[in-house]
């Protein structure tokens, strides 16, 4: 199962959502869909119509910049990063 790491700002939006969890999925998009099943609305926070990752959300798969279509291996590590921006 892929190991997914979520940004700290996301967890307060969904009661019980941990920062790190394991998901069985073949792609990033599928991993987000699995999380959305357990925490409805989570996909909307990361993905905009298109569909595409929101402009200030980045995903790294095994430390390489990825996207919704990026393939996952059972041993993959997925980091969802909220861009450092704002003021």
């Amino acid at each position: 199962m892929a190991e997914v790491h979520l940004p700290p700002m996301l967890s307060p939006l969904f009661p019980g959502l941990p920062r790190q969890l394991e998901v069985e999925a073949a792609t990033v998009d599928e991993a987000i869909a699995r999380l959305n099943e357990q925490w409805p609305g989570l996909r909307d926070r990361l993905v905009e119509p298109g569909p595409a990752l929101r402009p200030h959300i980045n995903v790294y798969v095994d430390r390489e910049r990825g996207g919704l279509d990026s393939a996952l291996e059972p041993s993959s590590r997925v980091d969802v990063i909220a861009a450092i921006s704002g003021g």
Binding site: M9, L10, L13, D44, E48, P49
Partner: protein
């Protein structure tokens, strides 16, 4: 005994202020995880607070609290234009509960509704077929921070009757629950070439009297009054220090009394001469008087946004406004004198008031 609630939307979340006497206020917040809040409103029927908020990271959602702010949930299910649509939702800019449903305005300009208390939403209209629609949805023609559908004004007695503002273009009225829309700009001044006959008016704020026949409007080039529910307008700018401003509020028990905060019309958009003041008419706009006792009389280069002023419905109504730099002021004597409320807030985008038991 009822208490008063002030819902203060800011660039860093929503604050809820509570008072038994409208003089001493307790401050709670910031709520909505400090997302930028565009406006908030209390649904008197359900007792739920709703806030329209949009995060740079996580997109837009309507937040709701059934316990006056203690706990919150949010949803954006259905709040968006279809995949592949030419329109893209950049923010939810307005939320208004009325007659058992929730209406939501968005940018790009569209109107959504929820009939389950803000859990799910469906698109009501994007004003297809309206003159000028291509222009107001063209990013190249939009000002920074474009709000799209910037206000929703429900009729208090008629569920299918409400007005909306499409920023920079028009006030629209529907009497059939949003199926058809009529531009309501007749008599408004515009100081730019008219590309369209009936739209192309930069409506900032509409503040109706309680009869909803008398309305006041602050727009880009003046104050205006309507005596027929927005069907026609007469300019009433004479006597004000500038024609420009955003915020306005009308007395709940006297249709001839209304308040406005004039601003310098240039890029600064702050109060003229650095002197904080609210201006009041008691004769439906024939004359205006400056009110400022208790407000900073000099070096006050502050602005107030379009949802930044409100008035309650008490017998002696309380008037409140918040600045885009985070100061909140209130008056309990019809604007004659003012005091600062709370502390220093993030930039204030909206102020709403409600009485709760």
């Amino acid at each position: 005994m009822s208490k008063s609630l002030l819902l203060v939307g800011t660039r860093k979340g929503l604050f809820v202020l509570e008072s038994d006497d409208r003089r001493d206020w307790s401050v709670r917040g910031p709520y909505c995880e400090s997302w930028p809040v565009y406006n908030a409103a209390l649904d008197r029927d359900s007792g739920t607070i709703y806030a329209a908020a949009s995060s740079e990271w996580f997109g837009s959602a309507i937040w709701r609290s059934a316990d006056l702010g203690e706990t919150w949930e949010h949803s954006s299910e259905g709040l968006g234009y279809p995949d592949g649509d030419e329109l893209k939702l950049s923010k939810v800019s307005y939320v208004m509960p009325a007659h058992g449903r929730l209406l939501v305005g968005a940018e790009a300009a569209g109107l959504f509704e929820s009939t389950d208390g803000g859990k799910t939403f469906s698109l009501m209209t994007t004003f297809e077929g309206q003159e000028g629609r291509e222009a107001w949805n063209d990013p190249a023609q939009q000002p920074p921070g474009h709000l799209g559908l910037s206000a929703i004004i429900p009729h208090p007695d008629e569920a299918d009757h409400f007005w909306v503002i499409v920023q920079g273009y028009s006030l629209f009225e529907t009497t059939d629950g949003g199926q058809t829309w009529t531009p309501r700009n007749k008599g408004l001044r515009r100081d730019w070439p008219a590309e369209y006959e009936e739209i192309g008016f930069c409506v900032h704020k509409v503040a109706p009297a309680s009869d909803f026949e008398r309305m006041y409007q602050q727009n880009h080039v003046g104050m205006h009054r309507s005596d027929d529910g927005g069907k026609s307008w007469t300019e009433i700018t004479g006597g004000l220090p500038t024609e420009f401003g955003f915020a306005a509020a009308t007395h709940p028990h006297d249709r001839d009394t209304s308040y406005v905060i004039p601003l310098d019309p240039g890029h600064g958009r702050t109060m003229p001469d650095g002197k904080a003041a609210v201006w009041r008419t008691r004769d439906a706009g024939s004359s205006w008087e400056q009110l400022g006792r208790g407000l900073p009389g000099k070096n006050a280069y502050v602005g107030v946004l379009r949802e930044g002023m409100t008035i309650d419905s008490d017998d002696a109504p309380g008037l409140y406004f918040g600045t885009s730099t985070g100061q909140l002021f209130g008056s309990l004597d019809e604007g004659e004198s003012w005091g600062q409320i709370g502390g220093l807030f993030p930039g204030i985008t909206s102020v709403a008031v409600a009485a709760v038991d």
